[in-house]
């Protein structure tokens, strides 16, 4: 028997179909009689709509209908909701503007959908969309986040354009620590706004059956269960049992496909209204305009230390841009996923963070790979590095002096979280060895002999993953629970179908989850099939984001598999005429302890479905179990990233010559998949650090609306990554896993910027550190 168990590099089962063109993405699906939708989008950022004339478009060739925000309003669809209620310091609830499915009388960002044209072909819909006449009366746009709070209000219900003023930690203690400290390091920094750029743009087909009154929505979602809940309970498109959401193969999400957007919602509504299937696939320009963007913070930080560099207090003041509306998760990102992470890997006794969230006339901003945690890691690892330089301490030494030690776990931070496990020094030591830190001085000298500036930068990040203990989430204002569902169906021949509420859009769950369950049962990975992404097949589930799938979804499967084994023992005890207490299950066999009597897993499965020799009086037939797993705590992946750069002083071009990442993700099921996740995360982090920047001009026009102006990392921007692992298993979930999906994007940006500033001998440089910025920094430092 081929057993591929936990810890083996099993090749990804899903890749055969992906690399042979046999994947089934939303745009691959075509339904008989389907129509096509094209959205009319605002070319201006802030305006009242004086008039909207659809007559020419409605009469154009091939057009079936032109639907507007007015009709959405007449049908009483609700606001697209933000799922987390955040309270301000003064106890007041956050201020939320109404987020219409289609704009009715006012525009709040460029690209906001105003109407949808449904036609027999996409070309006809697109041509007709140009005939929709909208008279916009422009209003001055609010774009700059630093001045948004003093600008004219965008919404009367959001005074001062301020959604909330949130705080966490002890203000007085922190201020006292700072005022009495031997040394205080202060910096201001910007976390640059990013556009997600999943390789597959968003797409959907809504199919309303007028006979059964069932609505099926095929869509590019990371969480079809959650999307169904939002569309039914909040937006009130259809009753929950009449809406089926299928998220088939999805080509990347990075957070941007968590959210319930206008377009998919409008499509579902339009299909019900018109009684036909309607398809929409975003053009890349639409993705730039209307996918939720990421990051976009401006922050001031103070770090107080004693004269030996021990951290005494950290004060953080951030303004976070929400964009024009509060997207599904938006309010939680700069608060619960950010402020709570500011202890990092360090024993800073006093921490206080204030976050003002503002609305602006730009696309909504929400979770993007890391979501809040990259922003936290960036400011912390930047200020720690700068503090080391100011204190004339080795950047490695200052971190060691402040690390939470293995004996300190469980460790209660001053910012609400309790870390369960970790060994930060172990990861750092391994990374130092892999990166040959000892040989850096020599490499720097050698680079100098070639005229290049070489620098090294560190980042010891932490993140909170495995979202989330439902009661903690609820106390923080979450509108939902954050458990996960899992079902393990053993088929009569002993193969297994696994159903999970998690969703795979590139993470390789079909392999990882198969490995997890196969190893539980001692069967081959090839005998396990993973089903996900269809609310018609699955129990309600919460989906995939926040590196939660294995830690939460995998734990649900692990518990369901345990139930299968427990039942299998009862069946085996009957068949082997023993007591259930004397049955052991190992290596795929149920054995009577201290005997040679046994039944294979397959024999037990067969007996469960063909119960001729079976304890029917006390046991139901069948072998299928489910579990809902609610985590006890977050998980805390952490690690050390070391980046080494060489800079050409003539051009300012940064070459990342060496990148080392050592991560502690707890138990690892498939190291190959984990390394792939780390590689992808680091690539995105390097993209943020060196290349990517979403730019709006002062009138709210998006200037980086294509790959001509928005620079994504390419293979030749990246080195071969040296990736290593350490392991302190998660103490509170049955798998021991902590999550690995976001770590690369969280840990890498500060390592890159620390390396560049080290090479240049400057303290600060903003992301993205383009060759122009680096060159200018060199001119200013007089070092060219």
């Amino acid at each position: 028997m081929v057993q591929q168990s936990i810890g083996e590099r099993v090749l990804r089962k899903e890749d055969l179909r992906f690399i042979t063109g046999k994947g089934n993405y939303t745009d691959d699906i075509n339904l008989p009689g389907q129509a096509y939708a094209c959205f009319v989008r605002s070319p201006v950022a802030h305006a009242s709509i004086n008039s909207l004339d659809i007559s020419a478009a409605a009469g154009a060739d091939g057009v079936i209908a032109v639907l507007t925000g007015q009709q959405v309003a007449e049908d009483n669809l609700g606001s697209l909701p933000c799922g987390w209620m955040v309270h301000s310091k003064d106890g007041s609830e956050m201020k939320q503007p109404f987020h219409p499915v289609l704009a009715t009388d006012k525009i709040n960002y460029v690209g906001e959908p105003v109407a949808v044209v449904v036609a027999e072909t996409y070309l006809a819909a697109k041509n007709a969309s140009e005939l929709v006449e909208v008279d916009y009366e422009e209003i001055e746009a609010v774009v700059d986040i630093s001045s948004a709070q003093s600008a004219a209000d965008i919404y009367p219900e959001v005074p001062g354009n301020t959604v909330y003023q949130w705080e966490l930690g002890e203000k007085a203690d922190t201020e006292k620590a700072i005022s009495q400290a031997a040394h205080v390091t202060r910096i201001s920094l910007t976390n640059n706004r990013l556009i997600p750029n999943a390789i597959e743009p968003r797409a959907a087909i809504a199919d309303y059956n007028t006979g059964t009154q069932d609505l099926t929505l095929y869509t590019t979602s990371q969480n079809p269960g959650l999307a169904r809940l939002i569309l039914t309970a909040f937006v009130q498109i259809a009753p929950e049992h009449k809406l089926r959401i299928i998220a088939p193969d999805v080509g990347g999400g990075f957070g941007s496909k968590i959210f319930v957007y206008s377009e998919e919602t409008a499509l579902a509504w339009a299909s019900m209204k018109l009684g036909i299937p309607i398809k929409w696939t975003a053009e890349r320009s639409e993705s730039f305009l209307a996918d939720a963007h990421g990051r976009d913070h401006v922050t001031e930080v103070e770090l107080a230390m004693d004269d030996e560099g021990h951290f005494l207090g950290l004060h953080v003041k951030t303004i976070a841009n929400m964009g024009a509306y509060l997207s599904t998760f938006a309010s939680a990102v700069p608060t619960y996923l950010y402020g709570t992470l500011l202890a990092g890997q360090y024993k800073t006794p006093n921490i206080y963070v204030e976050v003002d969230a503002v609305v602006t006339n730009t696309a909504p901003v929400d979770a993007y790979r890391g979501a809040g945690r990259p922003e936290a890691a960036y400011l912390l690892e930047r200020i720690v590095e700068i503090a080391a330089r100011e204190m004339n301490l080795d950047p490695v030494e200052i971190r060691r002096r402040n690390f939470i030690q293995p004996a300190d776990f469980p460790y209660q931070t001053p910012v609400a979280l309790e870390y369960d496990s970790g060994d930060y020094e172990a990861s750092l030591n391994k990374a130092l060895e892999m990166a040959d830190y000892a040989g850096f001085a020599e490499r720097k000298e050698e680079a100098a002999s070639r005229g290049n500036k070489r620098g090294i930068g560190f980042s010891c990040y932490i993140e909170a993953c495995g979202l989330a203990p439902s009661q903690v989430a609820g106390s923080l204002g979450a509108g939902v629970g954050l458990w996960e569902s899992g079902e393990v169906r053993v088929n009569p021949t002993g193969t297994v179908t696994v159903l999970t509420g998690s969703h795979s859009h590139g993470q390789g769950h079909e392999t990882t989850f198969a490995q997890l369950v196969a190893s539980k049962f001692g069967i081959s990975v090839d005998d396990v099939e993973v089903v996900h992404g269809d609310t018609g097949k699955l129990d309600f589930g919460m989906g995939t984001y926040g590196s939660r799938s294995l830690a939460v979804g995998g734990s649900a499967l692990s518990k369901a598999a345990d139930k299968v084994i427990a039942k299998g023992k009862k069946i085996a005890a009957h068949m082997l005429e023993s007591d259930v207490e004397n049955i052991d299950f190992e290596d795929g066999e149920f054995k009577v302890r201290e005997s040679n009597q046994s039944k294979t897993f397959q024999e037990i499965a067969f007996a469960a479905y063909v119960p001729h020799d079976y304890p029917l009086e006390e046991l139901e037939p069948g072998l299928s179990e489910k579990a809902f797993y609610d985590p006890e705590n977050f998980t805390f992946p952490a690690g050390a990233h070391i980046c080494e750069v060489e800079i050409d002083p003539d051009t300012g071009v940064v070459d990342i010559v060496k990148f080392t990442a050592v991560d502690d993700f707890g138990t690892i099921i498939n190291p190959m998949i984990v390394e792939g996740q780390v590689h992808g995360g680091i690539a995105q982090g390097i993209g943020q650090a060196l290349l990517e920047q979403c730019v709006y001009d002062e009138t709210g026009q998006l200037l980086t609306g294509s790959y001509m102006d928005y620079c994504m990392p390419r293979a030749d921007d990246l080195p071969n990554f040296d990736v290593g692992m350490t392991c302190t298993p998660c103490t509170h979930n049955p798998v021991g896993a902590k999550g690995c999906g976001e770590a690369g994007a969280i840990g890498s940006p500060p390592a890159v910027i620390n390396a560049i500033t080290d090479a240049l001998g400057v303290m600060e440089i903003e992301m993205p550190a383009t060759s122009e910025r680096v060159w200018r920094a060199m001119q200013q430092a007089g070092g060219a």
Partner: protein, 164 residues
């Protein structure tokens, strides 16, 4: 984008001023201009075919003359919509001064433009390059037309005052 340039024209100030107010001449000089017709005392309709980088579109809109101080200065403000290509908004201030000794008019103009929609998303920097080129062409054409210089014998020097 803001561009300001200065050019010397070997004609009297009044003649230059009259030409600046002649829709036929303006249409003739504006590259890609298909329609330029008065719809009031100081307002014009225009249609202009422009190709900017990957975007080719026909822009339709209105231009208005404001702050008119004959015969020495006016400001043209206008906006054009290019359908899905987006829109252009801007203004141009033109000022004339006569050199005292000779029959030479110094024309100084400054052009400010903003773009929106697809034009902004797909390459604002291309758009501004194209707008500079269009301004250069317009004023060069203008001087040639009013000086009756179709063969381009006259040396026209556009001196840049500001370009940001």
């Amino acid at each position: 984008m803001e561009l300001s340039q200065r050019v010397e024209i070997p004609l009297g100030l009044v003649q230059v001023w009259q030409s600046l107010n002649d829709p036929v001449i303006l249409k003739q000089c504006l590259p890609g201009c298909e329609v330029f017709e008065p719809i009031g005392d100081s307002e014009f309709n225009f249609t202009l075919l422009a190709k900017v980088g990957p975007v080719k579109a026909r822009f339709k809109g209105e231009i208005k003359l404001v702050d008119v101080n004959p015969p020495s200065s006016y400001t043209l403000t206008g906006a054009g919509k290019g359908g899905v290509a987006g829109f252009v908004k801007g203004f141009a201030t033109v000022r004339l001064e006569e050199k005292t000794e000779e029959t030479v008019t110094v024309m100084t103009y400054s052009v400010k433009a903003n773009v929106g929609g697809k034009l902004a998303q797909l390459g604002a920097r291309l758009v501004f390059g194209a707008a500079r080129k269009m301004a250069n062409e317009f004023f060069t054409n203008f001087v040639r037309v009013i000086c009756n210089d179709p063969d381009g014998k006259l040396e026209i020097k556009l001196e840049t005052v500001k370009d940001v």
